[in-house]
Symmetry: C2
Subunit: 332 residues, 2 copies
């Protein structure tokens, strides 16, 4: 399997991207990596390591798209960017999956423009897997579509179901609708209408899930529009970060509390590991006609390696074909 | 000042409501409390305590509105409910403020129907004060309006500004728009249009605030529609609860970690206090023509007392008149 990765995407690119690729080819079998970016910069990074040179190649790309650019404009203009070149490789069948930790907007816009949608899917959606108290769960959409129609949410549920069943290996995963209230008549026009449609579908639909209960992880696939999904995702990160930075400051404030901190180190470490969503790789961009994984902007080499592992899983389980069949079935 | 409280509202009513009232009349001066509810039940609770009987009276109400009823229907039908009777007292000028820890929907619907809106305010909004890392902040609207127009968000900002300046004593508080992205062109139709309007207003508008940054508390007044606000509020609670229950479980798992927990007890207690939003009372329902405070459903007696203190502050600073003037000024 060939995987192309945007060598210049992410807060710590290109060094951690290159490191992640090297760790991946060491640990994971049957893969070849292609890294896009300025050849001199990428090869300089590669030369810092010893690795099997047959398994990693560079595709030269002289431009970089930053977070501050208008995504659609940037993808259209910068045809020689590391993101565009990577996406084109999948489009032309020269790579089986593409990964980027760079500009989310440019990656999503580029994937839709260059690779294109699966027939029947109105709106592709970003679908990260999050760590929950009772187990991992998916939020779909997490930011690709700030405005949605009820039918979009139904398709998110259908795609999420296929992905969760095949990648997380949960048979007939439960599907919930993120809503402000447990009763079906609660919410806004979008959620009220989506609730009706989801009930009529052949899905394991368990009804509304209130934001307070999201971190529990009791429901496998949570659907919502991209504005809500992105808000939930960012609150999850923001509240956890705020709590831990405050705790850390307080623990360091006296000798006794420092001692307590030392004794609780294994607890905090286990916690960090349990709540580390890079364990599940990046966010799959579901509904495009190719495997697209958006890694977190602050990914370290382990997160990059996990995104590569996720792309392999995606490929080996033939999730794209299964989504196609599932969406076509529902269209009949 | 006379304050009426819904004696039957809240998870632990009527006992904690009665206790909160008794604590309030002991600690706070110049107030008289009126408790609505079935006279026999409320007086039985009151008789468990010693208190100044001149300062607390009962207004008999034989019905109770629960969380499971349709709010508008319930308020219209149950005219003898503890919520309706309390709201009518403010409407008829026989009380200066009303507090309830009961059904949020019924309280908001009842306040709008019975007390009515301030002239010029299109949509009243629920506005809790939350604890942030850098200080308290307000989210407005937190659930009264699942659908909003851009002009509603501008009025939320104007009302929030008056409240924050007068109650939290911050001169010219900063106002932010909750949005998924820092740039002004980000978000959905509502946030894009609201961003333009907010820039044109005479407000200390600092632009978009991403959900990740909300817990910092760097911006004083955060405006959004009620669906987003409720999601943010519930995620704040849900993530914090999930983290602390997991930590607690892990701390109890071995002798060493239990010892660590003992040493860190002051840290956890300080943390609990810093993040306890009942310190700021309940959520003000701004835009109605009377002082309405929604206390949390799980309020204890201290939270009830703090909501009473908040109502006094609201009254003594004449916030209703100031909102009227502010909204009228902006209409010209």
């Amino acid at each position: 399997m060939k995987i192309v990765i945007d060598g210049m995407g992410g807060d710590y690119a290109p060094s951690v991207v290159v490191e992640g690729c090297i760790e991946a080819i060491r640990e994971l079998s049957n893969i070849e990596m292609i890294i896009t970016g300025p050849e001199d910069i990428i090869s300089k990074e590669l030369n810092k390591h010893e690795y099997n040179t047959d398994k990693i190649s560079i595709l030269n790309a002289n431009e970089v798209i930053t977070n501050n650019e208008h995504p659609v404009m940037a993808v259209r203009r910068k045809k020689d960017s590391s993101i565009s070149k990577a996406l084109n490789l999948v489009k032309n069948g020269k790579a089986d999956a593409v990964i980027s930790a760079g500009s989310t907007g440019a990656f999503l816009a580029g994937a839709t423009l260059i690779i294109g949608r699966i027939k029947g899917v109105n709106r592709p959606a970003l679908a990260p897997i999050m760590p929950g108290k009772d187990g991992p769960f998916m939020i779909i959409d997490c930011g690709a579509n700030a405005e949605c129609k009820p039918i979009n949410l139904v398709q998110f549920a259908q795609m999420g179901e296929v992905y969760f069943e095949n990648i997380l290996k949960v048979k007939t995963p439960s599907v919930g609708l993120i809503n402000i209230g447990a009763e079906e008549e609660k919410g806004n026009e979008l959620t009220k209408e989506a609730h009706k449609l989801l009930q009529e579908c052949n899905l394991n639909f368990v009804g509304n899930v209130e934001p307070r209960d999201i971190p529990q992880g009791k429901v496998n696939v949570l659907v919502c529009d991209g504005f809500i999904g992105n808000t939930v995702l960012k609150m999850y990160e923001g509240v956890a970060q705020s709590i831990f930075s405050t705790l850390k400051k307080e623990i360091m404030s006296s000798f006794t509390t420092k001692m307590g901190g030392v004794l609780l180190k294994p607890v905090f470490e286990k916690f960090k590991k349990d709540y580390d969503y890079s364990e599940y790789g990046g966010a799959a961009f579901l509904g495009v006609n190719g495997i697209c994984i958006k890694a977190h902007g602050s990914s370290d080499s382990k997160a990059i390696k996990n995104a590569i592992r996720q792309a392999i899983n995606f490929y080996e389980n033939d999730v794209i074909t299964k989504i196609k069949v599932h969406i076509e079935d529902k269209m009949v």
